[in-house]
Subunit: 178 residues, 2 copies
Amino acid sequence: MAKKVLPPQTLLYPVPVVLVSCGELEGKKDIVTLAWVGVVNSEPPMVGIGVRPSRYSHELISKTREFVVNLPRADQVKAVEVCGSTSGRTSDKFATTGLTAVPGAKVRAPLIAECPVNLECRVQQIVNLPTHDLFLAEIVAVHVAEEVLDGHGRIDPDKARPLAYCNGQYWQSAVLPA
Amino acid sequence: MAKKVLPPQTLLYPVPVVLVSCGELEGKKDIVTLAWVGVVNSEPPMVGIGVRPSRYSHELISKTREFVVNLPRADQVKAVEVCGSTSGRTSDKFATTGLTAVPGAKVRAPLIAECPVNLECRVQQIVNLPTHDLFLAEIVAVHVAEEVLDGHGRIDPDKARPLAYCNGQYWQSAVLPA
């Protein structure tokens, strides 16, 4: 397999594209699109999200130490692009996207009703990296739309239509045939 | 959308399934399958990998502070399963899988020749979490097989056949139609 050496770059794939909601349901709130997201620990379940300090969501999450990871469907890619390219300092992204903020079970940060999966997260630790701060957070509650599950209670990608990102393109997922 | 609340769990998707190679080409070396992997920083490009302290790869990476993230193709899922379910303490996984260790450009850890993408990584920081240690590492060199690129130099998922993981199932990827 002939290979070429490329300059160092973030060529991990597929990485999830998520909408992170933060702030407070009845107060200042925001949505930011992130792909620098991953699981970091099993018990308790924990995720890490990388957020640039310049983002409004960084300010809100630093203050409340809570956020929600909302997993969008492929048909929500327009909202994903709006939330990734505009600032919550100057526009209310729930209003501009039409997405609905609903209360969580364990955190004050709003969930996005239209996303089939919502992970409520509480920040445990913040690691400062050169361009991003990495928020390491425990998943304290999980909400799943029954309509995206298969007969075994697993996520059915044909129904959940997961979005991933690579090299400036969006990818979709399907179950690998056995 | 009717939702149910599930116990806290690692329901982020899609997450990449990768083969992490470590140790030294001419000495002790190992391959471990991981899904708790993500990008954590943009400049310099950095990844985070979560590894249980009991794993042999944890021992090798802690010692050398280097590893390589190799991205397998869907047809390499058997090797992925072997490297995820056996220990490098008792078997040489390059031998049991038939995968080939080749030298890197910047690190002493071996690359896996058969994987279309290899990210050479140097550990910058280790964050101890309850069940996993999170190795935060700079990507110092990237190797890509020319045969998995599209006409624009981007990864073509039909050629690279990326593997992802969710709920005990393997997923594959395709470009989202515009």
